[in-house]
């Protein structure tokens, strides 16, 4: 047996024994996060700026242009009512963005407020939980049909449906996050110091609980695009002649045999938008806890 290894072979490394963990590059400056931002950014840019570059009005009925295929004048062709599909698609994006970027945050805000309140008082907690149970027990589309029956179809109905779908999701999420964060050692550390409830809530509990909420926000935005589409297919979505991604897609489904390329535009935009939101959500989720 070799007693001692020849020590001269191994170089000693006299550097400091404690090594700090290096800073990580930003989540949205690389990989999935960047891809997601670019995809969503493309759709947003198309929705905001696109209509300026298209000479047709989305409501204008062009004489003699019924269900035309793609051409130089109409890159995506025309629809059954002689309107330019590209113009309608680009305006339709605006409606979907409005729903995603207004209805989802409003739902999230209300849900978070209710969820946060529930953690304060035990009786309130039970009441809120059962209310969420009832809301969650309805499949989203049944809830949508019911609400549309009361409110009538339209953009506002879609937004109200999205808000009411998101409230229990965000409420539950924030409630669990708050309960988890409240038990963490750094909250105990603040209590030892003598910090009051308000300080603990403001400085520690809420900022740390919002992490999962931000992930869910991106996910819910993609779901909102689906809800809008599904309601349009059922005929309870955005009311005609107003365009939306779902409305343009629904019309195209009736004429797949006459103009198969009709469906291509709305499908591509929906796919890019949903993929973008999902990538952002995944990247944000992967960055949590690091």
């Amino acid at each position: 047996m070799t007693a001692t290894l020849d020590s001269a072979e191994i170089p000693e490394t006299p550097d400091a024994p404690e090594v700090a963990v290096p800073r990580r590059p930003g989540t949205f400056r690389r990989g999935k996060g960047l891809v997601g931002l670019v995809l969503v950014g493309l759709v947003v840019a198309a929705g905001l700026l696109g209509p300026l570059f298209v000479s047709w009005d989305p409501y204008q009925q062009i004489p003699g242009a019924n269900l035309l295929g793609p051409s130089a004048a109409h890159p995506l062709g025309t629809d059954d009512l002689n309107r330019d599909i590209l113009a309608r698609l680009l305006s339709g994006i605006r409606v979907d963005l409005l729903i995603s970027f207004v209805a989802v945050p409003v739902g999230a805000l209300i849900g978070c407020a209710v969820g946060a309140m529930a953690t304060v008082n035990n009786t309130l907690d039970i009441a809120v939980q059962r209310l969420f149970d009832v809301l969650l027990a309805f499949p989203q589309l049944i809830l949508a049909i019911g609400l549309a029956a009361v409110l009538g179809p339209g953009t506002l109905s879609v937004m109200i449906v999205v808000v009411s779908v998101e409230i229990p999701i965000f409420g539950r999420l924030l409630r669990t996050a708050v309960l988890r964060v409240r038990e963490s050692p750094f909250v105990t550390a603040a209590q030892v110091v003598g910090a009051g409830k308000g300080h603990v809530l403001r400085v520690h509990v809420l900022p740390n609980s919002l992490e999962p909420v931000l992930v869910q926000l991106a996910l819910s935005m993609s779901v909102a695009v689906f809800i809008e589409g599904a309601m349009s297919v059922l005929g309870i979505g955005v009311s005609p002649p107003e365009p939306s991604l779902g409305a343009v897609l629904t019309t195209s489904l009736h004429y797949l045999d006459l103009n198969p390329l009709f469906a291509l535009g709305p499908l591509a935009v929906t796919a890019v938008l949903v993929l973008g939101f999902q990538s952002i959500a995944q990247a944000a989720n992967a960055a949590r806890g690091t």
Partner: protein, 531 residues
């Protein structure tokens, strides 16, 4: 020495370009216990996993691992499966997770036996009973039908060892086999491993960070540092005359019992902390039973005990986080739950990562007590934080960093700086160094000692590690099942204990000196730690 069982040569492991093990060589002979020691990140566990082919798919390996001359590195899954359990067995760190909670221990032993051998159900059961007897489980015929939760922690680890022994392996890899156990249980498990080696002649590769365990058990030691083999020597040579600077530093950092001159007694009449007849119950379980404890102004009192002794509960009671069911707590002649009194208490937590809010900068973590009590704002606030960082020897540039950008030892310094922010008169430290590597622990302990001497605060230092407590406490209280069994000056309690429990506790601590430690085995009581 005897036949060579395992030869590792030029082993290299890297994860996605980041090297974890950079070319190490060692051998294990039959009947030999080789210890691989190192701090976290040294590559010791990765080495153990590489031998068994248990590395994740992202790892790339180089070099060679030979068991009786057969190459294991890069062998196919089928031949590795035949080696695992049959020829190389593994003992894991955490016995409660290594056992399946829904099967009896007998069934788990039988499953391992029948995986590699052609046994009937009855033969396997008899063999399981024999194995449990071998590892010293009393009444094995009954215990074989027990589920893991019916056994104590030490018994569970014995079962894990029995599982490893099931198929008479050529080599047992024990990865931190006693780290999760209390010190008295650790002593029993170490005695068992030593006994098994003597009786069965199994070769053992012991992976550990504990120098006391190495001194107790190993024949030969390989010291790893950042994936490199720093030194390899027989255990007596290594401890007596380490040839490399890193080994010397590592050995010097190990806290030892009885190496500090007795601290002068504190006769200040005023108490920083006084517990009178404190009782804490969790439902029917009495965690703390009529405890009286005093910490005088400027005095460091070490509170030692094993897991479940109630030491952390006492810490929480003293900090005013928990209201005792009976008895009184007085901090500086006031109630610790009072906001004004609370300003005078600092608390240092065990987990330096978890006790810092990941979203706050280091400056905000340290300055939180200042903001809560509105003692300083603006430039005064920033200057105070900079002074505190300076006091715990952290560069001022770290103020802008987040906790995750710091190492474990640096985070604990931040925790100490936060505890000092309001110039406390009493610091309660609950296992502040248990999560740290031994060299980092040594620097944190030295820092605490210096700060205590300079600032003169009183300190309740809670720890399971007797040697750590002996390095800085003036007085020591020993806690056992919720009651204080012995209390007195540190040098008396920890060197000449009078109570049987304290004696057992002190005797169980492995001394990081192979000669002294092995004398204790042959002459159980006379061998008092070297002074």
């Amino acid at each position: 020495m005897s036949v060579e069982v395992l030869r590792v040569s030029g082993l290299e492991v890297s994860f996605g370009g980041a090297p974890a093990v950079r070319g190490i060589d060692f051998t294990v002979g039959a009947g030999e216990i080789v210890a691989v020691v190192g701090e976290s990140g040294s590559g010791k566990s990765v080495t153990a996993r590489a031998i068994l082919g248990l590395l994740p798919a992202t790892a790339s390996t180089g070099g060679s691992v030979r068991l009786d001359g057969r190459e294991l590195l890069g062998a196919d899954e089928e031949s590795l499966r035949r080696v695992r359990g049959r020829e190389i067995a593994m003992v894991f760190q955490e016995p409660s997770t290594a056992l399946n909670p829904v099967h009896t221990v007998g069934r788990q032993l039988a499953a391992v036996l029948r995986a590699h051998r052609d046994l009937t159900r009855e033969q396997a059961r008899q063999e399981a009973v024999r194995l449990l007897d071998l590892v010293g489980i009393p009444d094995p015929a009954t215990r074989v039908r027990f589920y893991p939760h019916q056994l104590s922690g030490g018994q569970k680890q014995r079962v894990v060892i029995a599982l490893a022994l099931a198929n008479d392996p050529r080599l047992i890899i024990a990865d931190e086999p006693t780290t999760a156990l209390d010190v008295t249980v650790q002593a029993e498990i170490l005695a068992l491993l030593r006994d098994l080696r003597d009786r069965l002649g199994a070769a053992i590769l012991l992976i550990t960070h504990n120098m006391g365990v190495v001194a107790d058990l190993a024949d030969r030691v390989a010291v790893l540092h950042r994936g490199r083999l720093v030194e390899q020597a027989p255990v007596h040579d290594l401890f007596a005359a380490p040839t490399r600077a890193y080994t010397r530093e590592l050995l010097a950092a190990v806290p030892r019992l009885g190496h500090r001159p007795p601290a002068p007694a504190h006769d200040t009449p005023t108490d920083a902390l006084r517990l009178d007849g404190v009782v804490v119950r969790y439902r029917d379980f009495v965690a703390v039973d009529r405890v009286d404890l005093r910490v005088r102004q400027g005095e460091v009192v070490g509170l030692v005990g094993e897991s479940g002794s109630g030491k952390s509960t006492i810490g929480k009671v003293a900090a005013g986080l928990l209201r005792p069911d009976a008895g009184t707590v007085t901090v500086l002649d006031g109630d610790p739950r009072d906001r004004a009194i609370r300003r005078a208490i600092g608390f240092v937590f065990q987990d330096p990562g978890g006790s810092l809010d990941p979203r706050l900068s280091i400056e905000d973590c340290v300055g939180e007590p200042l903001r809560v009590h509105r003692t300083a704002t603006g430039t005064a606030y920033r200057r105070r934080v900079a002074d505190l960082l300076d006091a715990v020897r952290l560069p001022t540039g770290y103020a802008r960093r987040r906790p995750r950008e710091l190492s474990g030892g640096q985070r604990q310094r931040v925790g100490i700086a936060r505890a000092l922010a309001l110039d406390p008169r009493l610091i309660i430290a609950d296992e502040p160094t248990s999560a740290l590597d031994v060299s980092v622990q040594a620097t944190v302990l030295a820092l605490l000692t210096d700060l205590q001497r300079d600032l003169g605060f009183a300190c309740l230092f809670i720890s399971h590690d007797l040697a750590v407590v002996d390095t800085l406490a003036h007085r020591v209280a020993v806690l056992h099942r919720g009651t204080v069994v012995e209390e007195g000056p540190h040098h008396e309690v920890l060197r000449t204990p009078t109570q049987p429990y304290t004696r057992r506790l002190v005797d169980s601590v492995p001394i990081p000196d192979p000669t002294a430690q092995r004398t204790r085995h042959t002459h159980p009581r006379e061998a008092v730690p070297v002074t």
